[in-house]
Symmetry: C2
Subunit: 582 residues, 2 copies
């Protein structure tokens, strides 16, 4: 028996009992006559106290030989502490050891195992198993576990079945790049790892499974941006005999359940916003609505005053930052620099201060007198003390840039508290995106998404304007989940493949099994998928999904701990009938 | 709203309500004046009844146009049936439709969607989505879902954390063949898919996670035997600060919980059998102990009577089949044929009948008189009415063949009822197996398995006799799970790698990260993994794991439904910097 209790378990009620606990040495303090060991495990820290005058030499010697992160087992009597600590849950007690066993020594770790560590990112990735010992990291993974459990509890109660779909599937050129797996038994042929279980969950609906979910690994061979991982986890769901409303209500319920059960937070009913409104009011299909600061379009208000920048612009549009009129010149210059960054892309910024005394002052006073500026203020419904920020230019780019500026102002004004959660749906996404480069339409969601019934006739006349039965759930400006009502009709599916530029042969080769399945009685169905890593990081109040993955990869897709990927033996390549091209 | 109720939900209490249900047409019976539709979904079957004289022509016309597996929605009033059915749970009621909508027509399925289908294996694999509509298949997947939920419930209550380990890991030559994944971002390098999360779960223990589990996909690129899948699912578990006893008790508890919660079956405390005893008494390291029929060794009893077969044999060993003395000559010939099959491998079989009248008669009466045969009977503790079956030859081969014969006799005598469950542990496995071909030792379990402390000194003198802290759980003669206490000491781990023929460099290249981790304070730890597919099939009373996998692959590793693996585009190969060798 290596332990009778954990290091987080002992309380005053245990005083007098002889116990054995095991764990890692967090630290040793040696005051000569008194010597303390803090012993740590996943559950907490317990203090071991040795009065060296009364203790055996053995025990004192062992205690003095211990280093940080040694693994030891301690047997002794639980005693009440003289000076209690309210910082740890075991702070009322200590153990007076009768026996200390070193289970495994430890060399000095390359960084401190504490909440605030001295280790940089790279070293902590290499020694991830040591980083996992830190409370903050472990709590993230514990949160993830709790969220998975509560997700399953909720869906299980609603008769959803968790069904495992295959990992070795078939490569399809549509969408992102696949990871592929050479098949030894079928030389020259490859499996692909799933980017999502999309077609399988639809086949489960055709198979009468009615309600499916899976917490499932998915894979995308993309050039990794800062916070992307080649393997990631989705809560993947699908329902049959549903309309959009049913799906929205079911999964709004899931997220509210998670907030309540995991964080004790009550989330109100989710509001819904069309994609068109999201773009118009926030310049963004995933607006952060923790704060208002909606876009106000000013073409009607500002044009014709000989200010060329505004007169030539496709769109003049701005936001009103409440209470920011006292921003200094330096702050305003910073904002101008911000919007001129390449990734924001504006050419400049116009501002107008609505001073507390009721006067108005702008960066373009040459063109706009106070009377004109009053019209601006009216358009923004601005009050004395507010700051108006305006961008102008090409409509699409300007909206995008103003969206960035709005978020930046939200940050600066403290309107984006990570412990406040604003959840909503964005609906009525366009069916297609037009790609200028290759002059064709792409599915905005995916090729199985159903158009809105009232827009179906536009598929022939004006496909670019067709809206889809597609929806995203947005929390605090992050797209947390998305999905759609699917096409369940072979003819309509075939028409969409045509519009997406598939030849009949390609469509048949790639998705024939799905279209054939639709001929055998497909129910109306739809669903969605949540990004589970992202959802966990949002719940954990972190920007980084990596913190919520036990063994993440770096931005080059490498696991630096195990040093993977790595070369394989020539014999393996031969068996797989492949060669490496130099 | 496509339905207000499911097809399994309506009862007498709903009579008079107007409801909408949706599902698949199981069948239509048309008696002219009366017409019935059986409407099916995952939850059950509801009868729609149309009195054609009173119904609208529309409804009657639609009803008469329906074929099997059409997807329809029916709105109407729930009525009490004149003639009730107790075969289905909705048998008290029927729906008199006011509206029938065809949601999707269906072409005729290639086999009948019924519990007993007319479809062969191949066609059902190709149209798996139709096979999944069958109750029997769906119930298997539902059972699997229930078992996963109950596994998580049990482990969650014991503070186990489910942690997702990576799928894109590193290839290691030890063990079975890896599936590999070329890395586009690291040309010439490969990820491997995990054969198990073994090293990661050990690193989680080093990382202080204490109790880990995961229901996880694993991958092995093996030539597939009848009931193997290239991807399969494990319940993978690991615990820190434990000894073998702790692990056995914890996971014995899991299996007993599953039997109780999923099947309502109480399983007694699991007995334990050493590997040595299992081989001695059953010739098998996973004996089916639903029935006794232990091996009895006869060298002392039968030798020296001039029967050359016995006199020359390394081992003469037999079993006593209770009550089988009346087996006919034909039956005994069948048994002889059985043991002579190449996969069983005996050269012949000797039998002795202990007749009901107390006389004894054997197939070798020439050599053994009744007095000698009495000695046999005594050795077997046989009673009148029993049949003694004896094999002789090389010790190892004979035990193996007799094990097959014992199982065959168990089948023939009805001693292997699939609704009876005999669970036990086999412990004290040998640490190594000696491979004659390449003259080296292989890890019987895996190279991280700890030797029994009392056997450690034999590692130098006689490694072949070292026993491991390794254990298997066996249910009804099937190895359902297995594991070990791990080595947590770098020096011992290094010694084991030496014995397994690893050079220092190879060991460091392949497992350096694990051995290094052990230097930073590794806790004593151990665990096990259950084969989840197999466990589900055992609970479902089936021999085939394929029946418990939603989308299985065939014996060539192909998914015939989606036609995978398949060729990929040259552009994909180019991006991955690989070429196919002709």
């Amino acid at each position: 028996m290596l332990r009778t209790h954990t290091c987080g378990e002992l309380r005053k009620s245990h005083v007098g009992q002889t116990v054995t606990i095991s764990g890692w040495v967090q630290g040793v303090r040696d005051k000569g006559s008194l010597l303390w060991i803090d012993l740590r495990d996943r559950y907490g820290i317990t203090q071991i106290t040795i009065e060296t005058e009364n203790a055996s030499k053995d025990i004192t010697d062992i205690a003095r030989s211990l280093g940080r992160e040694f693994v030891i087992s301690v047997t002794g009597k639980v005693a009440e502490r003289y000076s209690k600590s309210d910082k740890i849950e075991t702070g009322d007690v200590e153990i007076n050891p009768e026996k200390i066993v070193v289970l495994n020594p430890a060399i000095t770790p390359p960084f401190t195992i504490e909440d605030e560590t001295d280790g940089g990112d790279d070293i902590r990735m290499k020694y991830r198993y040591l980083d996992l010992r830190r409370n903050t990291v472990r709590k993230n993974i514990e949160l993830r576990h709790r969220m998975a459990i509560e997700t399953r509890n909720y869906l299980d109660k609603l008769n959803f079945l968790e069904v495992e779909t295959p990992v070795l599937i078939k490569s399809t050129p549509e969408g992102a790049r696949d990871f592929v797996v050479p098949s030894r038994m079928n030389p020259g042929e490859f499996y692909a790892l799933p980017q999502s279980p999309q077609t399988f969950k639809q086949l489960l609906m055709v198979g009468g499974f009615d309600r499916y979910y899976q917490i499932v690994k998915c894979f995308r061979d993309e050039d990794l941006r800062a916070d992307r991982q080649p393997e990631f986890t989705q809560i993947d769901c699908e329902m049959a005999f549903v309309e959009q409303e049913d799906v929205l209500n079911t999964f709004e319920g899931l997220v509210r359940h998670l907030f309540k059960s995991v964080k004790g937070v009550d989330i109100p009913t989710l509001s819904r916003m069309t994609y068109a409104d999201a773009m118009k009011n926030y310049g963004n299909d995933k607006p952060d609505i923790r704060f208002e600061m909606k876009f106000v379009e000013l073409n009607e208000v500002v044009k014709g005053q000989n200010f060329k920048v505004f007169d030539d612009a496709g769109l003049v549009v701005g936001i009103c930052a409440k209470g920011a009129a006292e921003y200094t010149r330096k702050q305003l210059d910073e904002l101008t620099e911000f919007v001129k960054r390449p990734q924001v892309g504006a050419t400049g910024m116009v501002y107008a201060r609505y001073n507390a005394d009721g006067t108005l002052k702008s960066s373009v006073d040459k063109f706009y007198n106070e009377e004109e500026l009053k019209k601006w203020a009216t358009a923004f419904n601005a009050q004395p003390g507010d700051l108006i920020l305006i961008l102008a230019g090409d409509e699409h780019k300007t909206r995008k840039a103003l969206s960035e500026l709005r978020l930046e102002m939200g940050n600066r004004l403290g309107l984006r508290d990570k412990n406040t959660f604003a959840c909503h749906w964005v609906i009525d996404f366009p069916m297609f995106e037009y790609n200028e480069e290759d002059g064709r339409l792409y599915a905005m969601h995916h090729p199985f998404t159903s158009p809105k019934p009232e827009d179906i006739e536009l598929l022939n006349s004006n496909p670019g304007t067709v809206r889809a039965n597609a929806y995203d759930m947005v929390i605090n400006g992050v797209e947390i989940g998305g999905g759609s009502i699917r096409i369940s009709n072979k003819k309509l599916q075939s028409q969409i493949f045509d519009l997406l530029g598939f030849t009949k042969e390609d469509a048949q080769a790639q998705f024939g099994f799905l279209m054939n399945a639709f001929e055998f009685g497909a129910p109306p169905h739809g669903g969605l998928a949540f990004g589970f890593d992202r959802l966990c990081s949002l719940f954990g109040g972190s920007e980084s999904i990596r913190d919520f993955i036990a063994f993440p990869k770096n931005n080059s897709g490498r696991d630096v701990m195990i040093d993977s990927p790595s070369p394989i033996a020539q014999a393996q390549l031969d068996e797989l009938a492949i060669a490496i091209k130099k």
